[in-house]
Symmetry: C2
Subunit: 524 residues, 2 copies
Amino acid sequence: MSPSLTRCSLALIAVLGLGCTGPAADRAPSRPPIQLTTAEAFDASTVAPYAGDHGSVYRYIDANLPKHLANIQRWLRQPSVSAQNLGIQQMAELVRDDYKKLGCQTSELVPTSGHPGIFASCDYGAAKTLLVYMMYDVQPVEPADWRSPPFAGAVVDHEHGKVLMGRGATNQKGPERSFLNALESIIAVEGKLPVNLMFVAEGEEELGSPNFPEVIAKYRDRLKQASGVLFPFLSQDPSGAVSMFMGVKGILYFELEAKGGDWGGPTQAEIHGSYKAIVDSPVWRLIQALATLTTPDGNVITVPGYYDAIRQPSDEEQRLLNGLLKEWVTREPLQQKSLGVKQWIDGWTGKDAQLQYLFTTTLNVDGFGAGYTGEGTKTILPHRALAKVDSRLVPNQHPDSQLALIRRHLDSLGFTDIAIKKLSGYPPAQSSVEAALVQAAIGVYRKHGITPTVSPRIAGSAPYYVFTDLLELPIVSGGIGFGTGAHAPNEIMLVEPKAGAKVAGLAAQEKFFVDFLFALANSK
Amino acid sequence: MSPSLTRCSLALIAVLGLGCTGPAADRAPSRPPIQLTTAEAFDASTVAPYAGDHGSVYRYIDANLPKHLANIQRWLRQPSVSAQNLGIQQMAELVRDDYKKLGCQTSELVPTSGHPGIFASCDYGAAKTLLVYMMYDVQPVEPADWRSPPFAGAVVDHEHGKVLMGRGATNQKGPERSFLNALESIIAVEGKLPVNLMFVAEGEEELGSPNFPEVIAKYRDRLKQASGVLFPFLSQDPSGAVSMFMGVKGILYFELEAKGGDWGGPTQAEIHGSYKAIVDSPVWRLIQALATLTTPDGNVITVPGYYDAIRQPSDEEQRLLNGLLKEWVTREPLQQKSLGVKQWIDGWTGKDAQLQYLFTTTLNVDGFGAGYTGEGTKTILPHRALAKVDSRLVPNQHPDSQLALIRRHLDSLGFTDIAIKKLSGYPPAQSSVEAALVQAAIGVYRKHGITPTVSPRIAGSAPYYVFTDLLELPIVSGGIGFGTGAHAPNEIMLVEPKAGAKVAGLAAQEKFFVDFLFALANSK
């Protein structure tokens, strides 16, 4: 997109024949500037590697690895497809019972408006308490597309070594049950854990966690006593590198719908296209309403106030960004290639691209459907048009406030006939790299020979606000290990790396979690 | 739609926050005014009923009706689905052979780039020559939806009497073969016809007549010698009334497509929606490009020059319109109800609505497809967006000129990334109510107790320009009789009306055609 498109109101030219100069162009909307005030860069290599050694526990893990693998297979072989309510209750009970085996004083299913949650509390008389978040549901499967049946949990050969294949292998049963294997190993050797534990699990993560706040609300006061939250995760990319992120964007997802009504247009069904001469078109109305939401290049949001709540990057976020940029130089072309994108918006590169990627809000059309879109010609005036739109939210945007701005904007332009239906929404979440939990994780990565890249946030969304905002706790998604195929066929987790593989297998995964628990226990 | 929306540039408010007043609003685009200069009204009842009486031919028809019905059944039982190339060659040969049986000196298949056409010429030594247009193809069928098999040609009971059911019963084999029955009856009684005949038939009408101009071009000089063109048609509505029309609108049908490319956006497949922060969106581009084509209400075309070619209604068109308006008062609410439309654009009624309906061009979105439009949330940035658009053309618009204006407009606004693909297009067509052929038809309707409503044109399209423009001949779609279910299951033609039915059966249909041929022969 030529930069001039974002600075000159094309709509003006279209409607009035005005040229692209003068005060009109000066008043064209633009993204708010992102101001950087420090050049300091965070460097994870300044964090001391965790120095503890828990040899007897590591040896227990090595000796019991077949049994640990079998524990994970037990989880993978229990289907738990939330979208199809397949095996959900059985999986919830299985997880609850596994928590009980850790000696948790409480482990119970938590009824919600949807699939049950799980809460467990395990007091080992330690000074610190770790809250562990788990999801026990998985995505649907198309068995015909799999090399090994998706609920067989078979060990198969893979370019990186022997892998466990099955739905949930990496997202998320594999690393979750691996984490429990690590806990069981510590208990077997030492009789107890160095930190107390609480677990909150949900069976609707793949549905957007619509009822998870109910689980959090029920135990809020107890959960707030934790030091932080761990989400067990296989963090290594194929080269062995680890990227940590301190925040996630929030999201607002809504539908805009135009339908014929008292105002005009066909109300019951499509009509012959020749009636456009005297009949209003809901499709045109939706197109016109949408067009008022952005500049002609689709990249600057023109809804008044939409950018107003956004705060400037904090000092810490700036330091994390500055650290990240050193890696970005080499990663950027690879990322463009893998996405099939020839250039970013307005030809941004380097810092400009990362600033926009991580610190701005978006308005994206996920889908638009109306009328006939098949082959050839069909001349109809559709009675309905639907657009699905999402907006990624950065601090301090809130989904309901942002949606209210869009509604007010459309109303102010006379688009009161356009219906808005919110499908989901939650605010962003941010943790501090200074949190003991985060420092412990970095220290353990460093012990395992990895200096993680730490990003201020990812551009994607997760409902971590329930931890950072409702419980005011930092959260870390962490662990070494390698998996791939989430939401796709042939999902795997690496169990036994080939010689020369740069990614960790099951035993190393579990030893990481052991170290993390002790590191957290010993942190300030 | 509130009228103010068409007079005030909403895009301006959206982009610049300007109010809806001042010079900007004054310069907003509007439809060109349609100027009426006469209050005279055409009245078909001033045309003298055809006075001829051809009793011996009528009696022949009555005596041979079972055989005539069998002729039509023979046509219906030969499938000829152009879209599926089902029975096309067989049907073309059947029609060609039926023309031969009329004593035509020439009757031949005409190879085209698609299905064959047919040309026949039958010289009876008459002073005048009638050109008859026929289509021998039909729409596809879903047999399960039919009460009687679509290619069985069965006679079944119906609220109006005994009907012939089958694909093509009304569109168009029924009236076409009924017309040939009439011709055969005249020849049987009188030995020859009162006018010479030429036939041009095509097997691709249901595909949009893509290759019919090839047939016309091949015989152009001979065809031009005709007095006019008849398309045999069952013209009565259930109340027995007949609407004639002197013109059809043309059409331009095209696709607008936005795809990722060198300019930006995903080029290979959809990508994760969070990348909207740094990746251009083809969907937004298509929405923004489309939005520049109309005012915010979707009803005024903002493409510079789009209305320029349109001529004002001729004196004759005005007289026809003025005549039509007397009927429109009662028909208008019924039409709104049957369409499910609460009000026309801007609350138009009466003359205002008819003027727009018949004399303006349109820009209609038939369909818009992009990304995910199913249930729930899926966050993607689609790599492609497609809109299907049609424009109904009035005299003197031409599809290619209109498309060139749209291309130029989009280019001038920087939308060079939007691809346009023309799918079909042909200009409008107009005949004069003063043509001998038309006057003969009206006179014969009057003899049969019907005073037709004569509209200057219909808002729909048909490629009649091949007759009116390429051959400079008037065309009339005519005949009494009743049929329904074109393009739908249970298509029928009335054969034997019940007592009290207000619509004509097969015998009356054929007698109308007999009268029409003699009336044309006797016309000035």
